[in-house]
């Protein structure tokens, strides 16, 4: 019984309403944060930072945002790529056009631009629902693709429409080394993650979930669908927008609209579904699954096959990677249709009972 909560009696509601009420969880989170902030910078390689951790963190942030909209509020959106793009281009314009604009405010302003865009494209959700809404949000996606390719002002009149940034600093510290990028992303993610967690476990979050689960009943107990949906769009697209800005500024450095294409939208949706709808933790799992797994497979497969003396071409590996990735998605869903986060909590529940089967 490694993981158990009995014996941990809560004597006040405040104690029961802590963000992580169970001691083991608190310890685990503390350890994870310590590890991420202190240990990882000491041991990870440049490659790990730049190619794995930074994209993973940024995509986790984006998935977190999408999860608020899709997982908590039940409004399936395929416009996330567009919100990222608006965040990135918004931040870019403020960063380059306003002299001495510091990085962090630029990122946040980018998020705000995405918020406005998100709310506008969220308006149809007041009438259109479910898959219809999902497909309809693609309008936002394709519109933003078009907008950033066609309206030159957004790209500062670059002839090809692709933009780049440099000279990023936070509080006087340059953000150019892999570690600094990693820490920047991690800090933003942790802060946003905590805020989001707070939000979803207070009244706002309950309103979203109520709208998701049964909107008529929600209305009957006095929740305004319009307000709930639009706040979800706003909060979600803010977070996604910031993630988009980070993706452009920190990960890519230079980007074109295709960096936030419809594929990105789909991938974000997949992250939250496979990770677990309506779970903050799930966003991280989902991002890890979709961002890291293919890379892992791509590197691991040749090694594995090498052990069996099989040599395989790059194309062969890529095809095998696709197949295994697809099969894994299906397999995980069969094991736990509610996503990796649910699998995780079932695991914890088993631990709680351990060593007894039930």
């Amino acid at each position: 019984m490694l993981y158990r909560e009995n014996g941990q009696f809560k004597t006040t509601y405040r104690a029961d309403q802590q963000i992580f009420p169970i001691t083991q969880d608190r310890l685990f989170i503390a350890a994870a944060l310590l590890f991420a902030f202190v240990v990882v910078p000491g041991i990870a390689s440049d490659y790990t930072f730049r190619a794995l951790l930074v994209p993973f963190l940024i995509m986790s942030l984006a998935a977190l945002g999408v999860n608020i909209l899709v997982g908590y509020c039940g409004q399936i959106s395929l416009g996330s790529g567009a919100f990222m793009a608006v965040g990135a281009y918004g931040a870019y314009n403020f960063f380059t056009r306003i002299p001495n604009m510091p990085l962090l405010p630029a990122l946040l302003v980018g998020g705000l631009c995405a918020t406005v865009f998100g709310v506008i494209f969220g308006l149809p959700s007041l009438r259109v629902k479910g898959l219809y809404l999902a497909v309809a949000t693609l309008a936002a996606q394709f519109f933003s693709d078009w907008m950033f390719l066609r309206i030159k002002w957004f790209t500062n009149y670059a002839p090809s429409g692709s933009v780049s940034v440099s000279g990023m600093q936070v509080l006087g510290m340059p953000i150019d080394s892999p570690v600094s990028k990693y820490l920047l992303c991690l800090s933003i993610l942790v802060v946003m993650g905590l805020l989001a967690k707070n939000l979803v476990r207070s009244a706002m979050g309950r309103e979203w979930m109520a709208i998701r689960d049964m909107d008529v009943a929600a209305a009957v107990i006095g929740i305004r669908p319009m307000y709930a949906k639009l706040t979800a769009f706003a909060v979600s697209s803010f977070i996604v927008g910031v993630a988009g800005a980070l993706w452009g500024f920190v990960y890519l450095g230079a980007w074109e609209p295709a960096a936030f294409s419809v594929d990105q939208s789909f991938r974000l949706l997949f992250m939250v579904i496979i990770g677990g709808l309506g779970s903050i933790m799930g966003s991280f799992f989902g991002a890890a699954f979709i961002v890291l797994l293919p890379i892992g497979l791509n590197q691991f497969l040749p090694v594995l096959l090498g052990w069996f003396g099989i040599e395989i071409s790059t194309a062969g590996i890529s095809h095998a990677e696709l197949m295994i990735f697809g099969a894994l998605i299906v397999w995980f869903l069969i094991v736990e249709p509610h996503g990796l986060a649910k699998l995780w909590s079932t695991g914890k529940q088993k631990l709680r009972l351990w060593p007894f089967p039930h």
């Binding site: 249709p337 079932t346 529940q349 088993k350 009972l353 039930h358």
Partner: protein, 269 residues
Amino acid sequence: MDPKNIVLNVNGIEVIYNHVILVLKGVSLQVPEGGIVAILGGNGAGKTTTLRAVSNLLKGERGEVTKGSIELRGERIENLSPSDLVQRGVVQVMEGRHCFAHLTIEENLLTGAYTRKNKAEVAANLEKVYAYFPRLKTRRASQAAYTSGGEQQMCAIGRALMASPSIVLLDEPSMGLAPQIVEEVFGIVKDLNTKERVTFLLAEQNTNMALQYSDYGYIMESGRVVMDGPASELATNEDVKEFYLGVGGGERKSFRDVKSYKRRKRWLA
């Protein structure tokens, strides 16, 4: 009970939901050919779960039978699909109606006859159901989602009857039905039972009616069978009378007078 004409034999089954939630802890029950057997018990006792285990509908709820066996006329049925069971004449009326929302009442009923290929039989069944539930006939062209709760319940029962079943698992058939319809439903049960030798296993909260119409009863509590016996015996049991029939001490108590200090009866507590 005579072991020879047992059609359904549930033997010490355990059911677990989601790999961790143990719900049934060794439930055994027998249903004789042509009998009406009732499962009684409070909310959460595991009645629905037992019926789902029999009809193999657990999988969709992420539940599984981990121990024990279920036999239909001597054949193990744990690995059959629900539709195989319907082919063998076992049909369940699910709790909570589950009508096909977008189909009309009539289409719902006709879909119920999916396994019957004989057109005349289907037509006759349809007439029979309409005769049982005239209300359905008047609402036949309306989409099921837009009918009232009671109409949906009738539709669900009627739909099951369309399959000309030999064993019907009824989960709370009386729920949401007006009193005379409840009587009618039980009347139909009796009718089918005597005329067509249909066997019934029903989970019911309306203990009064259930015991009145059934031959044998099981009382469940927290995933176990805590008492069983012929319906007539159960109906005279003092505990049952007080807690399930509300007539403890002879007279029926007024709902208004129920004292607040009263605590629930728990056999196992």
